[in-house]
């Protein structure tokens, strides 16, 4: 989504789902994994909205849906492609929106084409991308054809590209009956392409955990942009986050490739701050483009000031040297690959349990044995912490020194978490942690202080540690308020910004006031405005009422990044004159009298593109301010695997790619090619998923008796047809085998799974829940023992959701 809109987060928020006219849940099972979201789905349905559930199996989401369409795991692009084709072929798109807010009118390099499933030349596992660019005029501005007739314009390319995805062809790939596919397309497009209507897509890991996960999302983006559904109430593409603070932890970039605030992690080539800025600050020659990322220098400088305080100054390039520079991919799979090779000697894990949650978990468990030391911080004895005594191993052979540190639970510490809808919400401490348990912040603080002490006496390159700004109070407990304030940022000197005077040490009111000269510090520019001189904005507790806030923005509840904007890209909810597409549920509207936007915090306060008389407003800016060109990308050249989504089969697939000769995504990295199964030996498609009653790798729920009671065992679900073929009865023990491992679980035989017909071939699919492991009250084998080490070309997210296996009955089960 970042490649399309500029940001990767859920565009709208939970309450806003109620404003939708059509909700498509695809690649997620929100009723089970984000149960309370259905408060708003149900509300929308009661207001007449239709709910569409697209899933390989009939889930609890499907059970309350108006339309259910099965699809074979990993074929979203073909499915959505057919919907896009239906919309384009029948001209059921919101044309004015598309012209105003997207790059549909942009002219693409005339040599760009798709041939044999490839978008050009692939060299050393990557596209050369030489044709993935827009035609530019003499002034450096992209050439456009707002009539959308130029054959090189994005719109025409799209039409051509998706024409191949007719219902019948798509159905052969997805296994969705043509009737269901048509019904979904007609309903979704019919309900949401009109300006006053909106449709939303709710997706999660079922979309991303594929070798073409990013392109799956891209297909949603294209559909939603054509429908005019981005930025509007009840619209958007809503990435449903699975953890309470996976949004916040991503915002703070506990990831190898970015640093807090989604700033790029410097690479070895960025040899100085200037080089870094030259490389990463986007530029535009179009005066109408706000190009918000042009503020890069302010954000990185403020971050360096927050990290190294007084020790970061102009004289030392703001301590830019202290930041580690990467020049490889250090993502999850690379990490465990390196650990397996013995490169990594020590590991710290805070509440993560890769022994259950990682792909090819068996190999991840083995890799842990190569560590000299492991520090695991958790509330429970997790599989990862106890990897050295897992079944089938001899602890004496494992020479890893393991520290298992008792952590405080969420009710036992104070701080904020950011939900999927980007709301930063403050949590209070209800009681102290039990026994010696401490908050992670306490532990980080102690370790940091200890390290500073050690490095003060010398060591390799001690400067970044010794000089690290680390002042979170003098008490036993570090003060989370001080951290929150540091994240928001302070003025580091008396100064005047945008006509307002500030004193040194004052909290910064919003990121618009950040400076690139070291006058401000801000640990994360996105959170600048979260904790200001007005107080802790994240702790606000005023719920709005429907009368004053008909679309449920709840602007006075907690705080939402960026700058309390509840629906991002909301300038796209209005036409070029600033009038909302949907007057019955406006997000923002331009008040000509006051000369400002009303409603939600707009994506920048500039006036709309056109004045009431239809003339251009010179002060205006385009709506997608996070993109250098100011428009949402129907055509997205920045991705690694193509500017347009194209169907490829999952790495392990039971069928050939019916769309082209190119079987898989051409630019993926396969870590262990010898462990890839073929469909002769492993004819069954497998996918993994979660259930309401457990959470992620399970430590937080399999240790809770009430939840262990609800789902006590690991299981694999399969169709009655497949079970009959294999002689399996409900409740039998079965073995599921892949080249990576074989695991034993219970079989759930259910009509909720149905075999797929793919060009006349019957393909069976089974589904495994993956929460289980060898620790806790409820124990069972981990489905991730089976999953392959291969990931998305862009994000390196592993392909958990589609792989091949074989299933065999091994014993009578315990059906009561």
């Amino acid at each position: 989504m970042a490649a399309s809109f500029g940001r990767g987060a859920m565009t709208n928020h939970w309450n806003d789902i109620a404003n939708s006219d059509c909700i498509m849940v695809i690649g997620s099972n929100a009723a089970e994994n984000h149960p309370i979201s259905f408060k708003y789905v149900t509300r929308a349905q009661q207001n007449g909205a239709k709910l569409i559930s697209v899933d390989p199996r009939y889930t609890r989401t499907s059970s309350v849906s108006d339309i259910y369409a099965p699809l074979r795991s990993g074929t979203d692009i073909a499915f959505i492609g057919a919907m896009i084709n239906y919309a384009l072929a029948n001209d059921l798109i919101q044309r004015e929106y598309v012209i105003t807010h997207t790059n549909a009118s942009f002219l693409v390099d005339s040599k760009f084409k798709l041939e044999d499933g490839l978008f050009g030349e692939v060299k050393d596992g990557a596209y050369t991308k030489d044709t993935w660019k827009f035609q530019k005029g003499a002034n450096g501005v992209i050439r456009k054809d707002t009539t959308l007739k130029n054959p090189n314009c994005v719109y025409q390319l799209l039409k051509k590209h998706f024409a191949r995805y007719d219902f019948e062809s798509a159905s052969e790939i997805t296994g969705t009956p043509v009737g269901d596919l048509k019904k979904v397309a007609k309903t979704f497009v019919g309900m949401s392409h009109r300006p006053e209507k909106s449709g939303t897509i709710m997706y999660a890991m079922g979309t991303t955990q594929h070798t073409h996960g990013t392109q799956n999302i891209r297909s949603y983006v294209i559909l939603q942009l054509l429908m005019g559904n981005i930025g509007v109430a009840g619209g958007g593409i809503n990435a449903l986050r699975g953890e309470s603070n996976v949004q916040g932890s991503t915002d703070h970039c506990i990831l190898f490739h970015i640093i807090p605030g989604y700033l790029k992690c410097p690479t070895a080539g960025n040899t100085s701050l200037q080089a870094y800025l030259d490389k990463w600050t986007p530029k535009t020659k179009d005066a109408k483009s706000a190009n918000w990322w042009g503020n890069y220098p302010k954000y990185i400088t403020s971050l360096l000031k927050a990290f190294w305080g007084e020790n970061a100054g102009k004289s030392n390039d703001f301590a830019y040297d202290y930041l580690p520079k990467r020049d490889a991919n250090y993502s999850h799979m690379a990490l465990f690959d390196a650990m397996g090779r013995g490169v990594i000697k020590g590991m710290i894990t805070l509440g993560q349990n890769p022994a259950v949650g990682g792909p090819s978990a068996g190999q991840e468990r083995d890799a842990l044995g190569n560590l000299d030391w492991l520090v695991a911080v958790d509330l429970w004895e997790t599989e990862t912490a106890a990897f050295w005594k897992r079944p089938g191993t001899n602890p004496a052979d494992i020479n890893t020194e393991v520290f298992l540190l008792p952590a405080a639970g969420s009710m036992e510490k104070e701080g904020s978490v950011t939900n999927s809808g980007r709301w930063g919400q403050w949590r209070y401490r209800a009681k102290p942690a039990p026994g010696d348990a401490k908050s992670d912040l306490w532990m980080l603080d102690r370790i940091a202080r200890e390290l500073k002490k050690l490095y003060a006496q010398g060591g390799v390159f001690p400067d970044p540690i010794v000089n690290l700004a680390w002042n979170y109070g003098d008490g036993d407990e570090p003060d989370p308020h001080l951290v929150a304030k540091e994240i928001n940022g302070y003025f580091t000197k008396d100064c005047t910004v945008k006509g307002k005077s500030f004193k040194k040490g004052q909290l910064i009111p919003s990121f618009a006031y950040l400076l690139d000269d070291g006058g401000t510090s801000s640990g994360n520019w996105l959170y600048c405005a979260s904790y200001t001189e007005k107080g802790n904005m994240m702790a606000r507790r005023t719920r709005s009422n429907l009368k004053d806030d008909p679309i449920g923005l709840n602007q006075d509840w907690a705080w939402c990044w960026p700058v309390n904007r509840r629906i991002i890209y909301n300038r796209a909810s209005c036409d070029a004159k600033g009038v909302p597409w949907a007057p019955n549920k406006p997000v923002i509207a331009y008040d000509r009298v006051a000369g400002k936007w009303r409603g939600d915090v707009p994506d920048g306060g500039w006036p709309p593109l056109l004045k009431p008389d239809g003339t251009q407003d010179p002060k205006a800016k385009y709506s997608f301010i996070m993109r250098a060109e100011g428009h949402a990308c129907l055509f997205a050249p920045s991705l690694k695997d193509g500017p347009l989504p194209e169907h490829y089969e999952p790495l392990e697939s039971p069928v050939a790619n019916f769309m082209s000769e190119q079987q898989n995504n051409p630019v993926i990295k396969i870590w262990r090619p010898e462990e890839i199964g073929d469909s002769k030996e492993y004819p069954v498609v497998a996918t993994t998923y979660r259930v309401t009653e457990h959470w992620q790798a399970g430590a937080m729920t399999r240790n809770l008796p009430w939840l262990a009671e609800l789902v006590p065992d690991a299981f694999v679900e399969m169709s009655c047809e497949f079970a009959a073929e294999k002689g399996i009865e409900n409740g039998d023990r079965v073995a599921v085998k892949t080249p990576r491992a074989t695991i034993e679980l219970y079989a759930v035989v259910t009509p909720r799974f149905k075999p797929f017909e793919l060009k006349g071939k019957t393909v069976h699919q089974v589904g495994l829940i993956w929460h289980f492991g060898y620790q806790g009250i409820a124990k069972g084998e981990s489905a991730n023992m089976l999953t392959p080490m291969v990931g998305d070309a862009n994000t390196m997210i592993p392909e958990f959701k589609a792989f091949l296996c074989d299933v065999r009955k091994i014993g009578k089960g315990g059906v009561a």
Partner: protein, 285 residues
């Protein structure tokens, strides 16, 4: 004014928040289960018990429109309008309150289990494993219902009037109905819920079968159900009839003083008659 709950199974997503909220409200111990307590998995535990006052049932069925459906219903005490258990209890440990709840007072119970036997819905459970066992069942959270004011402070701050009203309203609801996010469990006055249920059926005849379970069953219950499939498919007892079970017992019980008189008179009469016969016979001699 008797309260009840309208369970609209068509709105339930089966998240089981209500089931666990019930456990947390009553601090019920967990049960050791296996996944296959009931065919189809998921539904767990298999049945209500002294540790499980409420249970979401999972039903893979064909709905009234002939489509496959996964329907989630709910079992707990139905809080009958005329409860068999109350009629049964010989120490008055069970009683129907005016607010609708059928409540149990464990200080009286002797553990005879007549309430278990008599319940049309198989609800009350006995703590079989204990040496001093009690009967356990859904309380309709009557302690919550009887609750008073909202808390004085949250996070040490006083609540405003809007917040107070909200807190008061939700904390006097049964825990399950508070937990429910989709509105599948609707708490209110029984009469109003019946009106609501009839409206829903009328407005959406395709969605619902024309039957409000609990309106009349065994004399009516405080908990009412709507569904898109026949209640039989959801495992509800269908043969209870509309007459309340206690009415049978009441007929028998009301006869007691009459029997006492009648039998006495009859005995006296016979005695007198026989004595007269004997005297006459004696005189005859």
């Amino acid at each position: 004014m008797s309260r009840g709950v309208l369970v609209d199974t068509t709105l339930c997503t089966g998240c089981r928040g209500c089931q666990v909220a019930c456990k947390q409200q009553n601090k019920l111990p967990p049960e050791e289960t296996t996944f296959f307590a009931k065919a189809g998995g998921y539904q767990n535990p298999a049945d209500l018990s002294a540790r499980t006052y409420s249970l979401v049932t999972f039903n893979e069925v064909e709905n009234k429109n002939g489509h496959f459906d996964w329907v989630f219903a709910r079992r707990q005490c139905m809080h009958c309008e005329e409860p068999s258990c109350v009629s049964a209890c010989l120490v008055g440990a069970l009683s129907k309150t005016e607010s609708g709840a059928v409540v149990y007072d464990e200080t009286k119970c002797i553990g005879c289990r007549y309430c278990l036997l008599s319940c049309p819905f198989g609800v009350p459970s006995f703590e079989w494993e204990k040496t001093v066992p009690f009967v356990r069942k859904c309380t309709f959270c009557f302690t919550r219902q009887a609750g008073g004011d909202a808390p004085a402070t949250v996070n040490g701050k006083a609540l405003d009037s809007e917040q107070r009203a909200r807190h008061k309203e939700t904390q006097t609801k049964p825990a399950c109905t508070k937990a429910c996010h989709t509105g599948a469990l609707m708490f209110g006055e029984r009469e109003e819920l019946l009106v609501e249920a009839r409206n829903r059926i009328r407005k959406n005849p395709k969605r619902y079968v024309n039957h409000i379970y609990g309106e009349k069953e065994a004399g009516g219950t405080s908990w009412l159900y709507l569904a898109g499939v026949s209640f039989k498919k959801l495992g509800f007892p269908m043969h209870l009839g509309e007459r309340s079970f206690p009415s049978y017992a009441k007929a028998a019980k009301d006869g007691v003083p009459h029997v006492m008189l009648g039998v006495g008179a009859m005995l006296g009469g016979f005695y007198w008659y026989n004595q007269r016969c004997a005297e006459v016979a004696k005189k005859g001699e």
